[in-house]
Symmetry: D3
Subunit: 230 residues, 6 copies
């Protein structure tokens, strides 16, 4: 969590990252985007998709929840705009099942593309059927109450990474990456550049060319002292 964030607040107007850049980043996936922005911005690896195969990107609306209480997920629903991804942080560690198929129905109706939650999720079978992807730290049938105020669209810390409303979220089978809203276009361009020559590299490697030769690693390896023995 962020202790700078005021509780009991819903911020309605946030500056979302450029939509085209946000959409484009999703095509590259987390590994490429993470590299493209200088190898930063990956949430901790305990954040896993509840089912394999989904790959999304979108702009973050953020929400801070308290352990065992999902009241604010109903509050954040109203702030969702088409193309958003909800990022739910917790004030302290908890694995209860904050989110299920009813909330997913609501989020989807508002245009959300998915949820990233530093807590538990349930109804995973139905969520898969609905094609509403979630990245969470746990799967749990444990229900939650609706009793305590958190906050919406404040800076949060989710899975060890700080993020702000409007940032770009990229999520796939490899994890969840956050890109600063202001850097979205620049990172998208860098990611595009990385991808551009991947096809060529892949073809070379598939034909049997070694990375040792393609990347010219033999000389620096020898300089570093690598020795071949029989």
């Amino acid at each position: 969590m962020s202790i700078n964030a005021p509780l009991g607040i819903v911020k309605r107007n946030i500056v979302r990252a450029d939509a085209a850049a946000a959409d484009q980043l999703g095509k590259y996936g987390t590994a490429t985007v993470h590299e493209a922005q200088g190898r930063i911005g990956l949430m901790q690896t305990y954040m896993r998709p509840i089912y394999p195969g989904a790959q999304i990107s979108g702009t973050a609306v953020t929400v801070l929840l308290h352990p065992g209480d999902n009241w604010m997920l109903h509050v954040v629903a109203e702030q969702i705009k088409p193309g958003d991804i909800v990022v739910a942080a917790l004030s302290s560690a908890n694995t209860d099942g904050f989110f299920g198929d009813l909330l997913a129905t609501s989020f989807k109706a508002r245009g959300a593309r998915g949820l990233v939650i530093d807590g538990g999720c349930r109804d995973v079978k139905t969520l898969k059927e609905m094609d509403f992807p979630v990245w969470s730290r746990a799967i749990s049938a444990e229900g939650t109450i609706k009793a305590t105020l958190g906050a919406v669209n404040i800076p949060v810390v989710c899975a060890g990474l700080s993020g702000n409303p409007g940032d770009v979220i990229v999520a796939d089978d490899d994890g969840v990456v956050v890109v600063n809203a202001a850097d979205a276009r620049k990172v998208a361009d860098a990611a595009a550049a990385r991808e551009a020559n991947e096809g060529d590299k892949r073809a070379k490697l598939a034909s049997g060319v070694l990375g040792l030769d393609m990347y010219n690693f033999r000389e620096p390896l020898a300089k570093a002292g690598l020795k071949y023995i029989d």
Copy 2:
């Protein structure tokens, strides 16, 4: 484990929960059943299905195993009646592969619907092909010996939850829930009531109605001090 349980005992006659109620509970799944019985009865979240998609319910036959020893799984097989689910507890924490395809063949022949084990499972590929679902704390090829007596149909503690033979087990992708045999009908009715109006709620949410309005949360949120800012 339960230190009240005598070792070296197989209890043959147990009072199983009402079969109709036990069957009915499986339709609702763990999240609904957990809520319906007052948000209790979920095993710890490390209990995961060995493959996704299975959703079962049934009456518990229980067995206490010792680490690295699966002898009692052969003993419990004889006590299985059609509609049962085997619940295997351990006398101390262990992740060895106590259960595989041969035992599954035997359990299935006896009418078991699945296994819940606070230890490891193996042959998961074959178990999936057999459609014999298992919820376990680990997957492991590590084999076990047959040397030490445990007990069958005694009270057990499995994944942090105490249970008795004859209780109802509900298990799906969200985890494993236990319902007291005596409460099965009451909980099934409560679960049915919860389900009854879910279709209506889902339709409303899908049409864009917010939970804020559907559940009348705006007033209590305002009372709690929630503030909207721009």
Copy 3:
């Protein structure tokens, strides 16, 4: 890791286990092979396949990596021969994404059947599409650098188990097993013997015969003091 292993060394000529035995072991899978060699040789259970269903065997080429550095994976690629499986150990614990689709393309072109890595893997969606199986301790989009020398084809410790280049690796949904190169034929024969009578056992159990009777457990259980009560 093994402190006996010299760093900065690539051993080119290794003695691989008998290819026929190595291939044969893969048919039985890890559970059977683990039993067949006297219930030893299973890597720790945190080693999981990045997608379900793959079952492979092959001869080990080994590589020692440093945390956050995958340079040596390019070096080991050149030492791969058809039928090999790469076994990557780490000098200290780390979950970064050392391996992705480009390296997989290269490994596959060299004839590798898969990778076992005591670290993280990325591009799992693409690896599944390529049908290139990996067993790893984590999935992570976190990229790595190319800066430090490790070693190739030295003895390694991977996931708590020591192994040597040329050993047989068997990997499936139940985990990863290592068989000494010198024991491959003997273990393959023992595994074959185990499998030979499994069909018969399975048929008996499926017909309702109990393991208690098929294995003659009733007498030793009674001797051990097992009591049946009502």
Copy 4:
């Protein structure tokens, strides 16, 4: 937790184990008592003393708490009698700091000898100064609220072990052991018998006699096939 336990209940009259036996068991410590009752009854090893050196025994008064809520600790305080140890279970996993120096002052005034809690503890420095020992799963400054009913003196599951009010608790640097109230005298006698010849054994071993000879292990080891090589 135990789903058989009614919530919202405080049971005032419980049958405590024989006080002399309960006191006597503390002298032997957990390792001896655990052996003496047939190697059962140890809580999971994550239960650790908040400071080293304390060794206590007493009769259990039990309490079920909900995550993040310590209200029932004030309720259980009234049920403490001199010689008791409070055993606090949780309805689901949580590490908040449920217990601190003020509650310890109250518990001590009532005659409690210590606390065993399947959650977090705080004020550990002061608790050490007060000589009020606690065994917990975590240390945490995170405070708790007072809002939800649990129960007092019901059967509980604490750290993977079921226990009842009135049972004997033995706790020291090696962990926490539970002895059934009805077995307290029998286990105390068995523990005394174990201790009786330990002094003699210790003297022999200290003089250089090997366990191999003192326990006559050489013959069974040879029978099992142990071979000595040079």
Copy 5:
């Protein structure tokens, strides 16, 4: 980490919290301060003191490190002023021993009161003799290199909590709490108020008065439905 933080930057001028408030907060300890600021601001509970008994407070100078690299700890040393506590965050999870007695000598000479590090620490015996307290996620003899730029005095995420240079750090046996620089005086006053009547409460509880009566819990408990049975 915070992806908003520029790498390769050392910020020299930071606004430190009011020194008197920072000093005063240390007297109350983490549990009281955490409560006083509305039950927020505790780092995750895996952050533990390397030896028991230290209780400190001070103003944060922050540093971002990369796994296995402690170069920036030498850079941050120059920015330490008397009364500071160094807060070291990592760009990804790692437990190497970043900090030992030589750096502690340097930090101490600059006036630092301690270190909070989301990684490993070594030389703990010497650090204890030096009375230089450290809160860390691990203890490890594993050394680190000096090769990569991080940043100094930028916003960081340490042990799941975001913090800024100049914030107040309070650390003791119960964990680590962060107080916003701007709130230091207000929180110190609130903590003082909490402490003021603790002596009186403690005396009452020590005399046998129950929290049930002292806090007037009997009526709300009855209203919530608590029942006493025999």
Copy 6:
């Protein structure tokens, strides 16, 4: 474990590292020795001393145990010579209490300086009073049986690190380091060289000289792009 190790074997004659070098290494402690041998040889950080403050070195006698079975600890006792440290590996992960005060009495009588065990230990209070240090992965009162053959003085994998009988073990509050027998003298000399100029460095740092200046880091930091801002 090592699958190359024959079970059921006790090797009586092992080549121990040079005694003087082994003794000397203990003076430097694990952090210095780890650095001196090229930053390798540290066991995983879950290996912790059962009480703080001990610092030892000695020559390894190794033993392989099976989960829940400490029979071979009696066998290895006979192979201990003065100056040895017993290194106990397990065939699969387990935290039972394999070792307690009686075995410690025997080991001490044989001249052992301590125990390193990849499992659990008990009687820690007594072991501290006896001044017999143990590094273990857990503390547990759970007793073990004496039923299965392991092996003595074979190569083992302990806490992720392979080791051989006769190697030097160095253990202190920072963990456990293994030095190859053949390298003991060389590593001792390198450690001595590291220590030689530490006093001078410590004095400089204590006087306020910065590591930035003492190690001439300013120039390489500037080259790497470090920028100071206000």
